[in-house]
């Protein structure tokens, strides 16, 4: 089994998915707690034309994707409650995918590009990308640690937090920027369509299993990394896509945690 680590692409894949698992698990915990899981999904979609557009003009797709998710994150944060109009969001999302498709149409040199942006290509991650992911992870986690306290307060009791002097708009915008970076990272593993699998499934499972915030974040991270690594191993032996296993294990974990907590309550 350890022979797979003799390949550099497998070592990179394990490192990248560990880094992304940590970020997605931690950020996802607060995303689920705030009931904003759809934002993660939306940000990833908006990233799609960023990635394909960047490729079209000769820039790194990862760079273009991150720039677009960041811009969308700031937009959602500033719009606040007004961003929760599902028709408007739906139209922006389909427009994003449509634009991404158009950019792909003009950028025809590499047909595999589309699949890897949409569904992820963890086995194609180079060492340089691992370093970039690690640097982004450090910044994201540091920022999350800095805002976690008012973020938690504002998420659980917005009226009280506001009365106590928490700037709700500032906190929610900063959090959306963090979510944007985390989403961009997660797309490197699972692609823009499957971000939910890493950002939401482990965190939602952890919320079922834990009580305190610290325990919740730690369990969420452990689940995310475990799912990503197990999927790499399964993909290595079956030759099926890694992203499929990530979505399957994420769903399995969530369903069994839900069943377990229902059994305990009964």
């Amino acid at each position: 089994m350890l022979t797979m680590l003799e390949y550099e692409f497998m070592r990179n894949a394990f490192a990248a998915s560990a880094i992304v698992g940590i970020v997605a698990g931690a950020v996802g915990y607060f995303l689920v707690l705030r009931g904003q899981t759809f934002a993660g999904h939306a940000l990833a979609h908006v990233g799609f034309p960023g990635a394909t557009g960047a490729a079209l003009v000769g820039l790194s797709p990862f760079f273009g994707l991150t720039a677009f998710t960041l811009a969308a994150g700031i937009g959602i944060g500033l719009l606040g409650e007004r961003a929760h109009r599902d028709v408007a969001i739906g139209i922006v999302l389909t427009l994003s995918l449509g634009l991404g498709l158009l950019f792909l149409h003009f950028y025809t040199t590499n047909a595999a590009q589309a699949t890897s942006v949409l569904f992820g290509n963890v086995l194609g991650i180079g060492f340089r990308t691992v370093l970039v992911l690690a640097a982004m992870a450090i910044v994201t986690l540091a920022a999350l640690t800095l805002i976690a306290r008012p973020l938690l307060f504002a998420s659980l009791q917005p009226e009280l937090a506001e009365a106590k002097g928490v700037n709700l708009e500032l906190v929610s915008t900063l959090f959306m920027v963090i979510v944007a970076v985390a989403t961009a990272e997660a797309t490197q593993i699972v692609g823009v369509l499957l971000v939910f699998a890493l950002m939401v499934a482990p965190a939602a499972t952890a919320l079922h299993l834990t009580r305190g915030v610290l325990a919740g974040v730690v369990v969420s991270i452990l689940i995310a990394v475990a799912i990503a690594w197990a999927s790499l191993v399964l993909a290595y032996f079956t030759d099926w896509p890694t992203s499929f296993f990530i979505t399957a294990l994420g769903a399995l974990g969530y369903l069994s945690a839900g069943a377990a907590s229902r059994l305990r309550a009964a």
Binding site: P150, L156, Q157, A161, A163, G165, V166, V213
Partner: protein
């Protein structure tokens, strides 16, 4: 000293004017029932006292100072909306988290915050439920935890927004008694907001009744009377006493709507 003073205050909420030229004073130590139908502007008055809504006209004073955001002398219990605060976090952690929840950093309560939280939980008699997950508590137990949150900063004024919603009569009585007892023990004014007059009839030192953009202040009998409320609404209002309960009627329809969440 006045705990709260309104002088010719005009307030708006979401572009709609809810109070016009309202004046009243609440003396320190009083237990005041803030009454009025849903949407009459009770929450807006509380938010103005908290410094979250700026008056369009007039002056507000809180303990002889202008209101300000994050005012540490005010203990505030927001309305517990259906579906809000759905968390398995314990009551103790919620109370401790609220003490310094505005500071940046990771949400770990310091030793002093834990002591303050425990003291506040003792004051509301909630130490035995403090370690249970919040979402497993009953409505009355949740209100106790929320009141404890309001007590951690040693407040000089306590504001409670519709704490009786979705409680049965027995629990309503305990929460009113608890709020009244806390006010007396700490010697601070309590503004207790409710759309239903009846649970508060005996407890309130004073009634602040809002309706039709205006307010009437005084003892229960002075304010909840046909002539006063007719003057407030500008239409004939009848106050009907039935078996110790009061019904405020306009054209045969009861004015206080029944419990449903509102934002004004």
């Amino acid at each position: 000293m006045n705990a709260v003073g309104f002088d010719q205050v005009t307030l708006a909420y979401g572009g709609r004017r809810v109070l016009t030229g309202v004046s009243f004073a609440i003396v320190q130590g009083e237990f005041v029932a803030l009454l009025g139908a849903n949407g009459s502007g009770k929450t807006t008055i509380l938010r103005a006292i908290l410094g979250l809504v700026r008056p369009q006209g007039g002056t507000i004073t809180v303990l002889d100072k202008p209101p300000r955001r994050g005012n540490p002398v005010i203990g505030y219990v927001p309305q517990l909306r259906r579906g809000s605060v759905q968390t398995s976090i314990s009551g103790l952690d919620l109370v401790a988290g609220a003490t310094g929840g505005h500071r940046w950093g990771w949400p770990v309560a310091s030793a002093t915050e834990k002591v303050a939280a425990w003291k506040a939980l003792e004051q509301v008699g909630a130490t035995d439920i403090a370690r249970r997950p919040f979402d497993r508590l009953s409505g009355g137990e949740r209100q106790r935890i929320l009141i404890a949150q309001a007590l951690t900063g040693e407040p000089k004024l306590l504001l409670l927004d519709e704490p009786l919603i979705s409680l049965d009569a027995g629990h309503q009585r305990t929460i009113i008694e608890l709020a009244r007892e806390i006010g007396q023990r700490l010697g601070i004014a309590v503004i207790f907001c409710s759309h239903d007059i009846n649970p508060l009839l005996k407890a309130a030192d004073k009634v602040l009744y809002v309706g039709n953009g205006k307010a009437a202040v005084g003892k229960v009998d002075e304010v909840i009377s046909g002539p006063v409320l007719s003057g407030l609404y500008g239409t004939p209002i009848h106050v009907v006493h039935v078996e110790g309960r009061i019904f405020v009627m306009a054209d045969g329809i009861e004015l206080e709507g029944h419990a449903h969440a509102h934002d004004a």
